[in-house]
């Protein structure tokens, strides 16, 4: 191998699980370290934005951005990374689809601030303060990132080369993807087509799900804790809304294998335009009733249909966010 690859990783609006998932590749991380110089990775190596700014354009071979874009800082760094990297990979559900932070798109900025900084039981009255982008504190000019009206997925703000889905991406997939990229960059293999979803299957989770499937006719929906489930049988058939049917496989069926329904973190299938809408369509289709009132009753057991169907992908949905006229 000639010279080492130059790589970077950044943590935007996210929980940090994605960084952990890279570490979860265990000793493979050492191979990475051997093959590449990690030029920038705030959680693991020391560094400042200025280091990044100092780099030449395209100096980095590949950068991994995990997390959504919630504020001006996220966007700033996303753009920096794009500028400095040959390949930019949206790492994990948040970068890919907006992820859990994306659910904030069901509320406006004001609603969020109100809940977080003004009307919240944990706030001592009199201490209500709302963060401002610019403020002065005894003479000092303070600047903090601007909180956007809504959450964006990475490719809303910058051009993305590859998407590595998952919350977080399965270590095996991470490993595989890194190998592919290394091979591509070192010219040993052909790179996947731009914009490809890597580290995931083209088919739904059910393809890999070991549970048996027979007849899908549901007369009542349950949340996982409401029912003693048959570990062998399809969760959906037992009335537990499992998003496996509308979600790319590749995760290794992590949730259903641990008796939890799939939440859909790997995102919609290639032929599906709107993951949530499809989930609604499929869920409705298996309800077993002809009586409108009974139907209403059955779906009443699903408390938050938007949260359920767009848990990881609201900003990537057709409507993207709640409309506040």
């Amino acid at each position: 191998m000639a010279e080492k690859l130059q790589i970077a990783k950044y943590w935007g609006a996210a929980c940090g699980g994605c960084d952990v998932s890279l570490l979860d590749t265990n000793e493979f991380i050492l191979d990475i370290a051997a093959a590449a110089d990690i030029r920038f990775w705030p959680i693991a190596v020391d560094g400042k934005y200025s280091d990044l700014e100092a780099m030449d354009d395209g100096e980095l071979d590949v950068s991994f951005y995990n997390g959504a874009v919630r504020n001006s800082e996220n966007e700033h760094v996303a753009k920096l990374m794009r500028q400095k990297s040959k390949l930019l990979v949206a790492y994990g559900s948040c970068a890919h689809l907006g992820g859990i932070p994306g659910l904030a798109n069901l509320a406006s900025k004001d609603e969020i601030f109100d809940r977080a900084y003004l009307h919240n039981p944990s706030i001592q009255s009199g201490n209500e303060t709302v963060p401002l982008p610019e403020s002065t504190d005894d003479g000092y000019e303070l600047e903090i990132p601007a909180f956007y009206e809504r959450v964006y997925k990475l490719d809303d703000v910058v051009d993305v080369d590859y998407y590595l889905p998952g919350c977080p991406p399965a270590p095996t997939q991470v490993k595989a993807v890194v190998q592919v990229l290394v091979a591509a960059l070192t010219g040993q293999a052909e790179a996947p087509p731009k914009g490809a979803v890597v580290g995931a299957s083209e088919v739904a989770v059910c393809e890999d799900c070991p549970r048996t499937r027979e007849e899908k006719k549901v007369t009542k929906f349950y949340r996982p804790w409401q029912i003693i489930q048959d570990p062998e049988r399809c969760l959906l058939e037992q009335g537990i809304p499992c998003a496996g049917i509308v979600t790319r496989s590749g995760c290794g069926v992590r949730c259903p294998n641990t008796n939890m329904p799939c939440r859909g973190c790997y995102g919609p299938l290639p032929n599906v335009t709107d993951q949530g809408a499809k989930f609604v369509s499929a869920l409705g289709s298996i309800i077993d009733s002809k009586d409108p009132d009974e139907i209403e009753q059955i779906i009443a057991d699903i408390p938050d249909i938007a949260g359920l169907s767009y848990r990881f992908g609201l900003p990537a949905s057709l409507l993207q966010r709640k409309v506040t006229p």
Binding site: S281, I295, S317, L318, Q320, V323
Partner: protein, 144 residues
Amino acid sequence: MTFEPKIVGFLCNWCSYTGADLAGTSRIQYAPNVRVIRVMCSARVDPTFVIRALEEGADGVLICGCHPGDCHYSEGNYKLMRRYPLLKKLLEEYGIENDRVRLEWVSASEGQRFADIVNDMTERVRELGPSTIRPALQADAAGR
């Protein structure tokens, strides 16, 4: 000048679309705001269609199928009947007014009913005013 809503109508081929044709052959006059898209059965109406229409700038979406029990495909309309309330709940969480999306049963012989529904829906949507979805999304994009 008054706001003229753009409403997308999804009509099943056998009952509602035929009913709409009957309104035509009977020369029943109604509001020109609904633009009809023909589907074989109301069961073909994927919630994605409705959401796509709203995203594309429709001020309202009207879905019409055969009366329950009278479906050309015997039970297609029940399938829609099951998806629809879920879709409505979803749209509600998106903050979309109830009257913008509507499901009605119109048989092949109910030309007048179709006309009445179109007129009524047009009025309700006109009262709601233009949908803000498309402008909002465009603004978001511009904001970036």
